[in-house]
Symmetry: C2
Subunit: 454 residues, 2 copies
C-alpha cells in the first residue's frame, strides 16, 4: 500500500494544516466555511485523521444538515463517540432520507433504549424500512441491504416499464437491474437496464428477464455476499427472505466496505488489534486493549525462559550459548510467520482445506528444510569463525535445521487446527507459533549443547 | 477473515475432493464433464486451490473456448505458468472478445517478442484496442480501463439517444452512464442511464448531463483510482488522455481487484511476501524468495547477538540473566509491532502525516510507557520470586519500561521515516523494528545488570 494515494495524502495533510491553524488562531468562521465547502466523504476522512480534541472541535463546526451524511462514512468507533452526545430527536433528524442500511449501522452504536426512542421519533415509513433492516444481524445480507427497490411484473411490456420509470424523479443509486416479482412479491428474475434499453419495447418483461442469477438469502453472512459479488461482477443484487419474498437490494458500494474490512481483519488480528481500531483513539481507550495482548505474550516469553532455565548449567559452562541462543529462535519465528501468513491468506480466500493441506504441508516443510540447511551452513560458518569452536558451529546448524522445519510445519498446521477449534487463526496464530518456535528453538540449541558439552 | 465463506470453503473442498478422486481413478471423461459444468470463476478458484500437478491435469481438461475466461480470473503467477505452454496463435485465439484491459493483463505476462506475435495474429480492431491499453503502465488508470465506451453528443435529444441505444444488441458490462463528448471526442459530461430513463425524451443531452464529476486521467495510479471510486461510490468512470480525449472507461469490478490487492499488500509485505504469491507455488519457486527474507533477518539476529556478546562477562557471573534476557526483547517486539501495524494501516488509509504525527507519537509513547510500567511490575514480581533476587527484579522492570517506550516510539516513527526515504514501510518496517527492539532490549537489560553486578 505504500504507493497508495500520495496525492490524497498530500491533500489531506494540507487541509488538516489549514484547518488546525485556523482553529488555533480562533478564526472559527473561516474554519466553518472551509470545512463545509468539502464533501461529506472528505469531511469524514479529515475527522478520522484528527486527534480526538481537534476531531470534536471540527465536528461542532459542521453544518447540521451534513451531520448524517458524514456520520455514515465514519468507522463504528468514531460514530459512537459523536452519537453519545446526541438525543433521540437529533439522531432521528439527521438520519432522515438516508439509506436504511446506513441508518441501521448508525443505530446499532446506540443502547437499545435509545434505538427505540429514535425509531419512535421517525416518520412511519422510515421506521418500517429501518425496522426491516434492524431485524437482521448486522453482518448478514439483511443487515447490509437497502429497501429502495424497483420491482416490475413479468406480464408488462417494456414500453409499460419505460413509462412507469418515467414517473420517477430518479432511480435508486446503483440501479442496474429492475427486480421482477409476482403478485406475492416473490422473486422471479432480473430485468437489466441495458436489456430494457436495447430491446424492442413491445416485448414483455417475461421474455427478456434473466433468471440465471439466484437472489441472495437475507441470512447469508456478509463475507459470502462479498464473495458472490466478486465472483459474478455484480453491481447490485436482490435480497429475499425465507419465503422467497424480495425484501431489499444490496449495492456494490456496501460490498466494497465489507471487502476492505475483511482484508484488514487478517493484518490487524495478527498484531492482536481490531480492524475497526481508531488510529487516533485516546490513550485511555488504547492502553487496556494493548495490555491484554502484551499479557498473553508475556506468558509465551516466560514459557521460553523456563526452557532456557533447564539448561542454566550448560550456559554457565559455555557462555557463548547465551550469545547465539536468540538467533535460532528468531530465524524459526520468521520462517514460521511467512508460512503462517501465506496459509492464513489462503484460508481467507477459501483455497486451503482437506484436499490440498497435504501438499501444502509437505511443500512448506520442504521449503523450511532447504532454507534451514542453507542458513545453517551460513550461520555455522559464522559461529565457527566467531567463537573458534567447531562444536558450537555444528550445534547451531543442527538446531537451526530442526527449528526451521518445525516452524514451517507448524506455520501450516496451526491455522488449520485453530480453525477446527473455532478459534480465529489470524488472532491466535502468531502467538501460538511464537511459543512453538521459541520453545523448540531454545530446546534444540541448548539441548544439543548439553549433549555435546556435558 | 476467519468467518469468511465457510460455505464457499466447504463447496470448494467438496468439488476438489470429487475432481481429485476422479483424476486418480483415471475417469477423465467424468472430470471433464464436472469441470466444464462450472463457471469460469469457479474453475479459476479450483485451479488456484490446487497443487501444481493437479492444476496442470485439470487445465488440460478445460474446454478450449473457456480458457480465456478462466485465465483472466487467475492471479498473474498462475496465468504465466499456463501461458508459457501456448504459442502466439493460441493466445490470440483465446483472448478474442475479452475486455481490452484483461487481454493487456494477460499479455503482460509474456516476453515482448511473444506479445508482438500475438498482436500480429489478432484482428485489426482488437489489436488497436489492446495497443491503446498496453501503451499505459499496468498500474495506472490507462492500464485498467476498457475501451468499449458508448459516447453521445450534447445536442441530441434523449429520444435520439434511446433510439441509438436500441440499435445495440447489448450495452457494455456495468454501464451506468453514457459519456458525453464533443466532435473531437473531448469529455463534456455524463448522462446517467437513470436520468435517461426518468426524464422527458424531448429534452437534449446537454440539459440533463451531469458535469460535476471529473474524468480520470489515464496516468493516475490504480490505488488513487480505487480511492476515487470508494469515495464517490462510482460504478464506472470515464478515462481521458492528456488532451482530454475520452480513451476508455473503468468499471467497479476491476477496482475491487485493486482494493483487494492493496489491502493484501500490507499483510503479505510485513512477512516479506508478495501479495500475488501463489499459495501452492512449487518448492523451487518459493524457496529462493523466502531465503532472501531469512537472510535479512539473520543480519538482524546477529546484530542482537553482537550486543549480547559485549556483556558475556556479566552473564558468566549471573546466569539468570541469560534466562530472562529474551523476555525484554520479546515484549518490546510485540508492543512495537502493534504500533507499527496501526501506523502502517493509518498510512495506507492516508490518515497519518505531518499534522497529526505529533499526537500519534505522544499517544503511542504514553501507551507504551503505561503498559511498560504495568508489565514491568508483573515481571519484576515474577523475577523476584523465581530467582529470589530483588536486584534482578529491578533490572528487568527498568529494562522493560525502557524497551516498551522505545518500541512504541519507533513503531510510530519508523514507517514515517521509511516512507520519507521512499522505502515501503510494510516491507521494511518489521525487520527494522525488530532490530531496534532486540538491540535496545538486550542492551538495556544487560547494561543495567552490568552496572548493578559489576
Amino acid at each position: 500500500m505504500q504507493a497508495n494515494s500520495d496525492e490524497l495524502h498530500i491533500q489531506t495533510q494540507a487541509q488538516l494544516g489549514e484547518l488546525y491553524e485556523a482553529l488555533d488562531s480562533g478564526t472559527f468562521k473561516q474554519v466553518k466555511r472551509m470545512l463545509n465547502g468539502l464533501s461529506p466523504v472528505e469531511i469524514a476522512h479529515l475527522l478520522e485523521s484528527s486527534p480526538p480534541p481537534s476531531r470534536r472541535a471540527l465536528w461542532r463546526l459542521v453544518d447540521k444538515e451534513k451531520e448524517g451524511d458524514i456520520l455514515q462514512e465514519l468507522p463504528d468507533d468514531i460514530q459512537a463517540q459523536f452519537l453519545r452526545r446526541m438525543d433521540a430527536q437529533e439522531v432521528a433528524h439527521i438520519t432522515e432520507g438516508m439509506d436504511a442500511d446506513d441508518v441501521a449501522d448508525i443505530l446499532q452504536q446506540l443502547p437499545d433504549r435509545v434505538i427505540k426512542e429514535v425509531l419512535k421519533a421517525m416518520g412511519e415509513q422510515d421506521r418500517q424500512r429501518i425496522e426491516t433492516v434492524l431485524s437482521y444481524d448486522e453482518d448478514t445480507a439483511g443487515g447490509m441491504m437497502d429497501t429502495d427497490t424497483i420491482t416490475v411484473r413479468p406480464r408488462f411490456t417494456l414500453d409499460v416499464v419505460l413509462r412507469y420509470l418515467r414517473r420517477h424523479d430518479e432511480l435508486p443509486a446503483s440501479t442496474d437491474n429492475l427486480i421482477v416479482v409476482n403478485r406475492k412479491d416473490e422473486f422471479l428474475g432480473l430485468l437489466p437496464l441495458s436489456k430494457l434499453l436495447t430491446t424492442d419495447p413491445s416485448i414483455t418483461v417475461r421474455e427478456v428477464m434473466s433468471t440465471d442469477a439466484e437472489p441472495i438469502d437475507a441470512q447469508l453472512p456478509d463475507t459470502e455476499v462479498a464473495n458472490l459479488f466478486e465472483r459474478n461482477d455484480w453491481v447490485s443484487a436482490p435480497v429475499v427472505d425465507e419465503d422467497g419474498k424480495v425484501v431489499g437490494r444490496i449495492t456494490i458500494d456496501d460490498v466494497v466496505d465489507v471487502i476492505r474490512e475483511d482484508a484488514d481483519h487478517s493484518l490487524m488480528s495478527m498484531a492482536g488489534l481490531d480492524e475497526e481500531e481508531d488510529t487516533f483513539a485516546p490513550v485511555m481507550r488504547t492502553t487496556p486493549r494493548r495490555a491484554i495482548w502484551l499479557g498473553v505474550n508475556l506468558i509465551t516469553a516466560i514459557t521460553a525462559s523456563a526452557v532456557i532455565s533447564i539448561f542454566q548449567d550448560t550456559i554457565d559452562k559455555v557462555v557463548a550459548l547465551a550469545v547465539l541462543m536468540p538467533i535460532v529462535a528468531s530465524m524459526g519465528g520468521v520462517a514460521g510467520s511467512q508460512t503462517l501468513t501465506v496459509v492464513i491468506r489462503g484460508m481467507a480466500l477459501s483455497q486451503v482445506g482437506r484436499h490440498n493441506l497435504g501438499y501444502l504441508l509437505s511443500k512448506e516443510a520442504t521449503v523450511g528444510l532447504i532454507n534451514g540447511f542453507i542458513w545453517a551452513l551460513v550461520m555455522g560458518g559464522i559461529a565457527a569463525y566467531w567463537f573458534q569452536d567447531i562444536n558450537l558451529a555444528i550445534i547451531i546448524a543442527a538446531a537451526m535445521v530442526i527449528n526451521l522445519l518445525t516452524a514451517a510445519t507448524m506455520g501450516a498446521l496451526l491455522p488449520v487446527l485453530l480453525r477446527a477449534m473455532k478459534i480465529d487463526p489470524a488472532l491466535a496464530g502468531s502467538v501460538a507459533l511464537t511459543t512453538v518456535t521459541d520453545v523448540v528453538g531454545f530446546f534444540a540449541f541448548l539441548g544439543l549443547a548439553t549433549y555435546f558439552y556435558a
